[in-house]
Amino acid sequence: MSTETKAPKTAPPRAGSLRRSNRVLAFFTIPSLLWYLIFTIGPLIAMFLISFTDWTSIIATPEFIGFENFAEMFNDPRVGTAIVNTAIQLVATVPIQVVGGFMLGYFLSLKFRGHRFFRVVLFIPALISVAQLGTIFTVVFGPAGLINSLLTAVGLEEWTRAWLANESTAMLCIILVGIWSGLGFNSILFAARLSAIDGDVYAAAELDGANHWQRMWRIAFPISIDFFGVVLMLQFLWTLFGSAALILVMTAGGPGQATSTLSWLVYRFAFTGAPSIGYSQAIGVLLFILGSIGLLIIRRAFRQRY
């Protein structure tokens, strides 16, 4: 006897009722759309508008000056130095944070004995605020800090120096702190994504003689390439836009211009010395354009191809 059951048939909704329903739903999105327009799109538009003004501080009256800020920006050696420093920071930080994070995430996803402990350890930097992070590493790299104490203890006293005050080591310190704080967090993100890959896929590859390196880059990476792109994009944007906080606490852009990045200049011209908010926002526009270009390249390069 057949036990087949028939699914009840439902009539498709009529087009008119669907449109009405969509309008009602759209109505409920208005508050969040307004919020988004006012607090996200608004400041973005304001950034562009302010970049065309000479505005010395928020208590002064802005004056429209056309493209003068941009003309000055392209002739300003401080901006040129900041572009180079920003490029160095991105190239040195982001690949290590993302590729290293992916590799660590792969091993965490294998759920080896003690992996939970390592997950906690790797996540700890994400629980430390930028201000704390900067303070801790200012002490670590200070003249009487951990690094110099260790070097002295092992008889390498001649290697000691004021790491954050030395033109050849200050940016390296900022980069190392950035890597330290981002690597573990990325590994947790990747571990979460890679844990979703069916273990049979790895088992089959192992039967075919694939080692961990091959499984990591020939199986896990292609499967999760879109996620890899998202993490790369986020890390790129965080480093490009967010470096000012760490620099503010650790070096204030010095010594000289050694750690001055574009993100730092946006802060510096907006808030320190004799502020020049219009000029600061012109640099902000440059950052926005660079960020958008980088974002498009990353999205295009790391699209899922199957």
Binding site: P43, A46, I58, A60, A274, I277, L287
Partner: protein, 429 residues
């Protein structure tokens, strides 16, 4: 409200949001809205410190005497500027602000945030009781005065005579040659000689002292316009600083030391000489305080000064908001409070209990003694030392030399010409 003010406010509002969105937002707490029957003060004087405790006690006494309520909001000094400007945009300016009048806050006068107190200094009888010169740091080029000076002081060099004695040095160095001898002896005794806070504003301040050794008060022109590379005397001062850096007169890795690091190193007896302001006289331990002699920076041969030099400092005072100045009733309340603060009883508490240096003549303050020996020394410090030109008065607004000073102090072998070229670029920016 005028169209310009409206435009400014609208622009300021969206600007504040934009700047906060694209950079780090500053502290945005505003002062309490000013009410007609009370005075509001935004203060950098922290409760728990001598200055903050003085203000709290003075406010309590004033309210008890007059019935006028005074609402004090405390903000960290480094956040005061942002807080005042944000409060202004929000229409919540406090009536009074306790702060020193640095180049960064001078635009407040031009933009109508604070009032020119010139008429009140005279009408309220304050000019008559102030020490000569204490208004100078509050004066702007266009003849306005930015506030009521309350604190004054100096920024001398501090010598730990116990540590110098341990190294076999029995007198305070008054020449650079003597300083070098002392530094060598201190190093031989395992003591760091001179703390140069190369990492922050403290090093910037000390740099200006070295820079004017051969220029004298001509340095004011360089402070305003730059031009180190073209001034042989300024170059000589920088060259001397470089020689002392390479001669290990300064603490090892000086470029990594902030002002507070130097204070701690000095207080812990790890360094024998440092350049600190009189605002820190009461912050040291008793033993180090007793061993300290304050004096000027030693002079090289051919210096433009006759005696070792130190900075006079303006210190904190009270700025009056333009809103309060424009409101007759509010101004009357403020006048009562200012009169109260400048009365001998409060000045005696400021000096005797809080161990602060007053901007008022000793004859007005009356018979009061400092319990702190450094304050006693400071009272006669100009007998044997010359006053240098303080940079706060003259440096072009927006020029921050600190990163370049960090570079110069942290780069052995860096020449005066290289440093001068880098500095001059800052004035061109």
């Amino acid at each position: 409200m005028s169209p310009i003010a409206t435009k400014r406010r609208i622009f300021a509002s969206i600007g504040a949001a934009a700047v906060a969105a694209s950079a780090l937002s500053g502290c945005a707490a505003g002062g309490s809205p000013s009410e007609d029957d009370q005075i509001t003060i935004l203060s950098g004087w922290q409760v728990g410190d001598a200055t903050g405790d003085f203000l709290s006690a003075a406010v309590a006494d004033f309210t008890e005497d007059t019935g006028i309520k005074v609402n004090v909001e405390t903000v960290a000094f480094e956040d005061l500027r942002t807080t005042v400007e944000t409060a202004s945009v929000a229409g919540q300016m406090p009536d009074l602000i306790t702060l020193n009048f640095t180049p960064e806050v001078k635009p407040w006068l031009d933009n109508g945030l604070i009032a020119d107190v010139t008429p009140y200094l005279d009408e309220w009888g304050i000019s008559d009781i102030l020490l000569p010169g204490v208004v100078d740091p509050w004066w702007t080029y266009d003849g306005k005065v930015g506030g009521f000076p309350y604190q004054s002081g100096s920024w001398p060099v501090w010598y730990n005579t116990d540590l110098l004695a341990q190294a076999g040095i029995d007198s305070i160095p008054t020449t650079v040659d003597e300083l070098v001898v002392a530094a060598t002896a201190l190093r031989d005794a395992g003591i760091e000689p001179f703390c140069f806070p190369g990492k922050d504003w403290g090093g910037g301040g000390q740099f200006w002292l070295w820079a004017q050794l051969f220029t004298g008060d001509r340095i004011a022109d360089i402070m305003a316009n730059g031009g180190f590379a073209d001034d042989p005397d300024a170059l000589k001062g920088i060259e001397l600083l470089g020689d002392l850096r390479d001669g290990e007169v300064f603490i090892q890795d000086a470029a990594g030391y902030a002002y507070d690091d130097c204070v701690n190193a000095y207080d812990e007896g790890k360094v024998a000489i440092a350049h600190f302001g009189s605002w820190g006289f009461t912050a040291l331990g008793e033993e180090v305080t007793a061993a300290t002699t304050v004096a000027g920076l030693p002079l090289p041969d051919g210096a433009a000064y006759d005696k070792p030099i130190l900075f006079p400092i303006g210190g904190n005072g009270l700025m009056l908001s333009q809103n309060a100045a424009d409101d007759e009733a509010k101004l009357s309340l403020v006048k009562q409070f200012i009169d109260f603060l400048y009365a001998p009883e409060q000045l005696q508490a400021w000096v005797g209990e809080s161990n602060q240096i007053s901007s008022v003549q000793a004859a007005v303050i009356g018979d009061v003694e400092w319990s702190n020996p450094l304050l006693q020394q400071n009272a006669t410090i100009t007998d044997n030392n010359d006053l240098a030109t303080i940079h706060d008065l003259y440096v072009k607004a927006g020029v921050d030399i600190t990163p370049e000073v960090t570079w110069f102090i942290g780069t052995p072998g860096a020449t005066a010409e290289e440093f001068a070229a880098r500095l001059d670029q800052l004035w061109q920016g």
